[in-house]
């Protein structure tokens, strides 16, 4: 039976379905444990906080696909939220439809610094973004002079944006933030799976040499990945500003680890070349739902939250690794007989994109 499932669906569809199943089981479990758990308010709270994490998880996913990592996301969010808040306080008359592109532009500017350093100078991304994590934050501290952005200084519509519904279904309010995040995920998913320019990210990550031989511009593709990650972090910064209103110099601190966590739980191989942004979205939702539910679970004290979260991330990744190895062992046999491509037969990580396309 496993064999037939294995043939019908790619490992990614399988993985995302399992994650969604876990998500549903988790909601059911917590609804038996926590009184009045399943209510529209929980939905609103989780969906708005997932929107922010999902955006940066998608950006991180694109970067990780190209065999890189972006650790500077938290600082980019902090900077964007702070500078955007400053700009809005100075020029409250900027039309609303320009603010989001402006936020993405600010974020993409930071992303470009990362992208240029990694692609042009061929520097390891983990070092570059570790450094820019500190540098961007110190730029923020230096230019702020210790002052904070307060809700009072922002235009009213901006503060209200996080609380405005796009529409309502059966008592569940769907905030604009959620609509935007879902839109970003869908657009990115279509872009990455259906367009040549999107497939390049997978190609570069799964086999850089082959990608180069195939005529893909490596530098451009890696730069684009960091630009996307930066722009989405900028958008997340806008939402952060709107949701919290009061922005201090430590805004967004540590969010990069949440993004990486969402990406690895979502089944995106940290060595590049595989995974989907849908996985990143589900990973982000899982982590955030757990985070929000454990606080309210009376059986364990709220201090257990991080301990459980960390162990579950580890458990999810381990299960994924072991399952994929099994599946791959089954998959390998017919391929070995035909020997179409030596790379396929040698490959040890179960998630090369060639197989996913089937």
């Amino acid at each position: 039976m496993l064999e037939s499932i294995n043939r019908k669906f790619g490992p990614n569809t399988l993985r995302v379905s399992i994650l969604v199943l876990v998500l549903v089981l988790m909601v059911l479990f917590f609804s038996t444990q926590i009184q009045n758990y399943l209510n529209p308010r929980l939905f609103v709270r989780i969906s708005t906080s997932v929107s922010i994490i999902a955006l940066i998880a998608v950006g991180q996913a694109v970067v990780v696909m190209t065999r890189n990592i972006d650790l500077s996301i938290g600082s980019i969010i902090g900077c964007t939220a702070y500078f955007l808040g400053g700009i809005m306080a100075l020029y409250p008359n900027i039309p609303a439809f320009l603010v989001m592109p402006l936020a993405m532009l600010i974020g993409a500017g930071f992303g470009m610094v990362n992208g240029l350093l990694v692609s042009r100078f061929k520097l390891p991304s983990i070092i570059v973004t570790l450094a820019t994590l500190a540098i961007f934050r110190s730029i923020l501290v230096q230019s702020s002079g210790g002052r904070s952005i307060t809700t009072a200084s922002l235009p009213v519509w901006l503060v209200d944006f996080a609380r405005t519904n796009a529409f309502e279904i059966a008592g569940f309010q769907i905030r604009w933030m959620v609509v935007i995040a879902v839109l970003v995920v869908v657009v990115m998913h279509i872009f990455l799976t259906r367009f040549r320019a999107g497939r390049q990210f997978y190609a570069v990550g799964s086999n850089p040499d082959a990608a180069e031989f195939a005529g893909i511009n490596m530098q451009k593709t890696v730069l684009q990945a960091f630009l996307i990650s930066g722009a989405l972090a900028g958008l997340a910064g806008f939402m952060y500003l709107s949701r919290f209103g009061n922005i201090t110099v430590v805004a967004g601190l540590g969010l990069e680890f949440k993004a990486v966590g969402a990406v690895v739980v979502g089944g995106i191989n940290i060595f590049g070349g595989s995974g989907s942004v849908i996985g990143a979205l589900v990973g982000a939702t899982l982590i955030d739902l757990l985070d929000n539910s454990l606080v309210r679970w009376e059986l364990v004290s709220e201090f257990w939250r991080d301990a459980i979260l960390g162990l579950l991330i580890l458990f999810a990744v381990a299960m994924d690794a072991i399952l994929m190895r099994r599946l791959n062992a089954r998959r390998k046999k017919p391929i070995d007989e035909k020997v179409q491509d030596p790379q396929d037969a040698i490959s040890t990580n179960g998630t090369t994109p060639k197989m996913e396309e089937k």
Partner: protein, 337 residues
Amino acid sequence: MEAQSNIQRLFKPLISWEGFLLFALILLFIGNSISSPFFLTVNNQINLFQLSIEKVIVAVIMTLVIINAEIDLSVASIMGLSACAFGWLFQMGVPAAAAVPMVLVLGAILGGFNAFWIAWVGIPSLVVTLATMIAFRGMARVLVEDRGITDFPDWFDGLGQNPFVGPFPLAMIVFFLLVAIFYVILQKSTFGRQVYFVGSNREVAEFSGVNVRRVKATIFIASGLISSLAGLLFAARVGAVRGDVALGFELDIITIVLLGGVSIFGGTGTMIGTLLSILIVLNLRNGMALSNITGHIQTGVLGVLLILSVMVPTIKQFLTKLFGAKISGEQKELKNE
């Protein structure tokens, strides 16, 4: 030609990364001594060490971890959890003298936990230690919740705060001992060669009969043990523990090691490089603090340095292209500045 190669031979040790670090350190010493007369005193030097001694102790073992082409993001959380475990045990009535070895064993177990997932299950260390970084920090919070634990016995606080031998506090002696021990292990022992070998090419090492799992497990267990020792020293120096002990230290520690010339891809780097990098970072921070530059900006400056340090090969390549192939030793020396 003959003369040129002689010049090159003369400058070769200086052109190496360690030579450059030494040069930078000397510049830093001169600059700092000019700006403040108190800089080059034994007390100031001990003091600047003492302020971040726990980080630099962990940087010693992190050197081995990164040479082995792995990374350990959980060190700061192990430091925090160890300090909190000590505080918790002490509060439960366990005498401090008994709690210390128990905490050290705990540190080794935490390192072993990392090692299990990395070496046996085969999950990338970046992912494993990211998860345990969150988990161990969470456990520290479980143990002390939002309290602070203080009032440790005087001898324990004294170990962290008072001079131990001559003017040197215990932590500093531990640090220099560890540097000496790991220098010998890394540069002179079979195990050290294996660490480099596995780091530069894991598969070849495996085929040559190196027990890769054992090498990785040993390193991660040692990393856990030393991190927990550093956590205890932190508790002794501050005289109190809280859930956020050593929060965010991992980035500083990794920065120090990478600045010391250890490649993030593994296989290269030396203990001397790390030691020089530690001295540079500490003196730079001290110098900046003397000129009233705040902590966040100091970290930013270190970030710029980190990027510049990995850019050196690229700059070298660029200049070689610019000046053609005939670059003499002096020119290379100039570039390093």
